[in-house]
Symmetry: C2
Subunit: 471 residues, 2 copies
Amino acid sequence: MLESSNLVTFTGLANSSGYDTFLMDEERGRLLVGAEDHVLSFDLVNINRDVKQIAWPATPSKRDECKWAGKDLRKDCSNFVRVLQPYNQTHIYICGTGAFHPICAYLEMGKRAEENIFRLDPNYFENGRGKSPYDPKMQSSSLLIDGELYSGTSADFMGRDFAIYRTLGSQHPIRTEQHDSRWLNEPRFLGIHLIPESDNPEDDKIFLFFKENAMDGEHSGKATISRIGQLCKNDMGGHRSLVNKWTTFLKARLTCSVPGLNGIDTHFDELQDVFLMSAKDPKNPVIYAVFTTSSNIFRGSAICMYSMADIRRGWAKLPMGSLPEQSAIPPSWHNLPDDVITFARLHPAMYNPVQPMGGKPIVVRTNVEYQFTQLVVDRVEAEDGQYDVMFIGTDLGTVLKVVTIPRESWHDLEEVVLEEMTVFREPTPITAMELSTKQQQLYLGSDLGISQMPLHRCEVYGKACAECCLA
Amino acid sequence: MLESSNLVTFTGLANSSGYDTFLMDEERGRLLVGAEDHVLSFDLVNINRDVKQIAWPATPSKRDECKWAGKDLRKDCSNFVRVLQPYNQTHIYICGTGAFHPICAYLEMGKRAEENIFRLDPNYFENGRGKSPYDPKMQSSSLLIDGELYSGTSADFMGRDFAIYRTLGSQHPIRTEQHDSRWLNEPRFLGIHLIPESDNPEDDKIFLFFKENAMDGEHSGKATISRIGQLCKNDMGGHRSLVNKWTTFLKARLTCSVPGLNGIDTHFDELQDVFLMSAKDPKNPVIYAVFTTSSNIFRGSAICMYSMADIRRGWAKLPMGSLPEQSAIPPSWHNLPDDVITFARLHPAMYNPVQPMGGKPIVVRTNVEYQFTQLVVDRVEAEDGQYDVMFIGTDLGTVLKVVTIPRESWHDLEEVVLEEMTVFREPTPITAMELSTKQQQLYLGSDLGISQMPLHRCEVYGKACAECCLA
């Protein structure tokens, strides 16, 4: 394990924690970080230079209410920033848990970096229900696009009303069916992305990555299942019973398993993170996903790759159960008869799971002390072609730098660990990770603070090797 | 690891293998062993003294048929002895695979050991269909009681017609429903036992221990599930569609899992062996069961204990699905209306699994090279009370001697490995295990031969410790 000499660490503020909501702003050269009671802005070149911070605590009265409601004052009753999304050319939309009372605001940044503006607009505070979770422990995700905010979160104090919301914008908010475990069964959201379906923006789709509890089967008992969900961006909600409810929501299992000789696969069911590697064709990014096992006896991690072609093939088939006179669900259900809508509403889960490329993980790690938590991927041009270099964060505050190299074919990859680096003083889970291709730097978040490291550190291997090394 | 000095090994015959069908005959002081093309009789005092053997190969014509049918002549087309059960005071019932053509015979032993008789009765050879499997790789079990043979096996050449049969005796054979995966879904049988239900022999029940493929659920994919099944000994078969079919067959899942902090349990699903520890009350033996994991990535073994009270509580409840006007299925269904019989026939699986005593395994072994295969238990009186000493066979030809000692309560057991012994020259799975409490010896079978070792070997620790040791 290398102790990195060119690692830059920002030690967390005395009265804050949870540096895990990142927004990369390459244009202004800043990394925005949402944390407990604070939002911070770092210089991408050096995170210890020109740090800006805004304190945004919950009000004393909200903290008192939170405490009286039986929550842990120290752990739960702060304002944990959970949404940090670009709103327009000058403003960022920002939401926090607000001591179990979600709140949103507009963060003014100015048009250009030189304006040096970084302040919360004091005139617009909004209710954050359906945008940020109440409970900071709840795993939520959000994406703001064309003035509309998509959020996978829970929308009540008790943390029982899970939903995928679309808020802001000029239309009425739309959400998933309330308290229907077939739609969402205690979901934990890991990511939301827009992926175009064609050259027409009207066909754009929103993809959600989450895990949820499996519906009880004979074999199961309690189990986690990982999911990819989709929505059409142009979904306006339905008629009658589906007013202000999504009409295009579908979900499929995201499988990451190692085939067994006996036909029984070993599943990695706990989705931890998702990274989209953009391709020349914006319709077809490669999806990298990090998984761990659900068991606390057998601990392991895996990374699987998925293609959009495989994902789209799944949606073309029937949802679970079956709809007699319908061989495929059209993308827009707006003009479908009521019984079709009703059927689809009761059966959002697709029968066929999405299988990873090559049918198995590209990286599997077992019998080690750590588990994977985060992933970013850097595409590198080398002399003999293109490599995807994976930076994998762990729950012990380390980063693995891994490439997979085809042995004979794409179905037989060899995994090569280039480096293993400790990036925080103490072992602490890495909870956020972003890379700047412009700066060629990697940024890491944890409870203890932020760290920054160069993507390539060939110079540590001496001048002779520097030119050819992948490190 | 100790190399045992007082280990006695019978090296297998040159033209045989598979020494895994054991019958302990304490009265005559013999261990009978069924193997490939042979049945052997060993002296319990020393298995290398006075070995008797009978060659019982498949006929050349049956071997040719087997080969022509595409089977492996060397591995499959012998007569592997799979049934060895006491028939009456003078005879043992014996069946073998007969080169994919099961065959049974009567082994004459004489009334007493001194008669020194050991021969196959040349006048009675019987078709072994429904008694021994065709395929020697099929895991089957049998129990002969009151002149009736209960067998869990497959009853066709293709190995698709799985069934629990009752044959011999004066009645028409009875079996499970044919080709109905709700009854049996590619079962592998590990043991059959009679356990009295009351003081009235009419209430006696037959318990079957097996594993089978789980029915497909949303979460599952292919999976193995371990089972306890029960039949009433006095079951005469049903009427109409159930003529010559069991009317009392029920099965429940046998769970052996470690509770997880997140509510997700780690299951050991591959039942390997079962040992019944008899108690003063013959109605309530303690059931010890050995399990391994299904995964080839995460390999582990566990031992769970079950009480008959917990098992009986399960049967009192409803089978899966539900029968509206019926709160419990009575033990004898003979006089029930047709629709009740029909319902029960379609739903032999109980909804509630049988949980182990204490809710978790008493032994768990992970991150080791070996897996458990076999188990026998010896109850030992020590100064401070009774201990159950477990002898655990592994797939690497070793035996672990383990006791569990209550730490604070019966729910918190500490496992203590007393010894770990290599009992075969080469690493080979231990496939059979019997103990003689009279001789205080343990007998082990494998592909390579038979080994014998004393249950307690205190003398290896020197005279001073011998008196107090558990070894």
